[in-house]
């Protein structure tokens, strides 16, 4: 597969990682950090392969909004998109973690839901939906989890303002000087 060879070319210094090669997707490894870069359309198949390969648990699902930033440490053959869903898995036998970074375009922010494969991703995906507005297809109850149900917008997107307001001081002496003072 071309992706494999290209990924191998990308890291000439690193030894070939058989444990990461077998999923047929580009990968990178530095220290204890192991990352694979599955394509969005192949995400669920990759997840099934991960499950069958002994990655017991989906620890974390989150996302990053690279509005106009360069993605750090992204292989050159992967087209960068605005959103990136990041899922972390852990294996008891190997005692290591694996991270998957999936590019999700702004025009169609959808990705398959891990719920049927790793049911523990339920709340995590709801949080990503709430904070980034990324839809997880096949999720049983994709609704807001942290913000109120009628909230507008997705707060962790980079084009969503922090929403800080100037601090107001009530009854401050400056505004209402004492009479006769």
């Amino acid at each position: 597969m071309t992706a494999e060879t290209e990924a191998a070319e990308m890291q000439p210094a690193e030894t070939q990682r058989e444990d990461l090669q077998r999923y047929g997707v580009p990968y990178a490894a530095h220290g204890e950090q192991k990352v694979i870069f599955p394509h969005r359309d192949m995400w669920l198949q990759t997840a099934v392969a991960l499950l069958q390969d002994g990655w017991n648990m989906c620890l974390d699902v989150t996302a990053v909004d690279y509005l106009d930033k360069k993605h750090p440490a992204l292989p050159s053959d992967i087209p960068a998109e605005r959103f990136e869903v990041v899922a972390t898995f852990i294996s008891y036998e190997r005692k290591e973690r694996l991270r998957a970074r999936i590019q999700v375009p702004e025009a169609d922010p959808t990705i398959g839901s891990l719920y049927t494969i790793y049911p523990g991703s339920d709340y995590l995906e709801r949080e990503v939906y709430d904070m980034f507005g990324i839809n997880f297809e096949g999720h049983p109850d994709l609704s807001r989890i942290l913000m109120p149900e009628n909230w507008q917008g997705h707060p962790l997107r980079k084009d969503y303002a922090v929403g800080s307001i100037p601090v107001q001081f009530k009854n401050s002496r400056q505004d209402s000087p004492k009479e006769g003072a």
Binding site: A161, V162, G163, S164, V167
Partner: protein
């Protein structure tokens, strides 16, 4: 010594100083200050310190406040302990409205008082935008000593306050009205918190 059966005959000397006279207002305020039960309204980190204040070392019972009431109907003081999120704000207001008059609010910690370090979309910048606050306790989180000081400050306020009317400057009072009979046989609504 002895029981005075008839003050008019025996005179006040018969009581031998075993009585106290005071305005009713002072008496009621005094008793209110000494048994102001707090509502459990722990939100965040400050709630842990609030519970620590209720623990054996700091002993909130010294101030007649060890009875944390789960039901707002039985509580007098609401200690807003922690940051108030936009999602929590309506709940907080509802609980405040459910409390019986007279009621007081302590804003515990900077998050409750002004939003603190979290000046963002999620946090209400000061609980005084939702409910009237009597005492602000600074700190992040305020130690039990600070909370105790806030409580004694509140007690002083209660003792020096007026019986029926709430503070003018904050316009507090949760819109409770009492019927006042003016002797003309016809009742007139008086809103607490205003002089008219």
């Amino acid at each position: 010594m002895g029981v005075v059966h008839n003050v008019a005959e025996d005179g006040f000397e018969g009581l031998q100083h075993n009585f106290v006279t005071a305005p009713l207002e002072k008496l009621v305020n005094w008793s209110r200050a000494r048994s102001s039960w707090p509502a459990t309204f722990g939100l965040a980190c400050c709630a842990i310190e609030m519970m620590a204040t209720g623990g054996s070392h700091y002993d909130l019972a010294r101030f007649g406040m060890e009875v944390f009431r789960a039901s707002p109907r039985q509580a007098d003081v609401m200690i807003v302990a922690g940051r108030v999120s936009q999602k929590m704000a309506p709940v907080l207001r509802q609980i405040y409205d459910q409390m019986m008059e007279p009621k007081w609010v302590i804003s515990m910690g900077v998050c409750a008082s002004s939003g603190g370090m979290f000046n963002n979309y999620a946090i209400v910048q000061g609980v005084d935008q939702i409910v009237p606050v009597d005492v602000y306790a600074p700190g992040c989180p305020p130690g039990p000593e600070t909370l105790l000081h806030a409580i004694t400050t509140l007690h002083t306020q209660i003792e020096n306050g007026e019986l029926l009317r709430r503070r003018e400057e904050t316009g507090a009072g949760a819109n409770i009205t009492v019927e006042q009979l003016d002797g003309q046989g016809q009742s007139q609504m008086v809103e607490l918190g205003s002089r008219t």
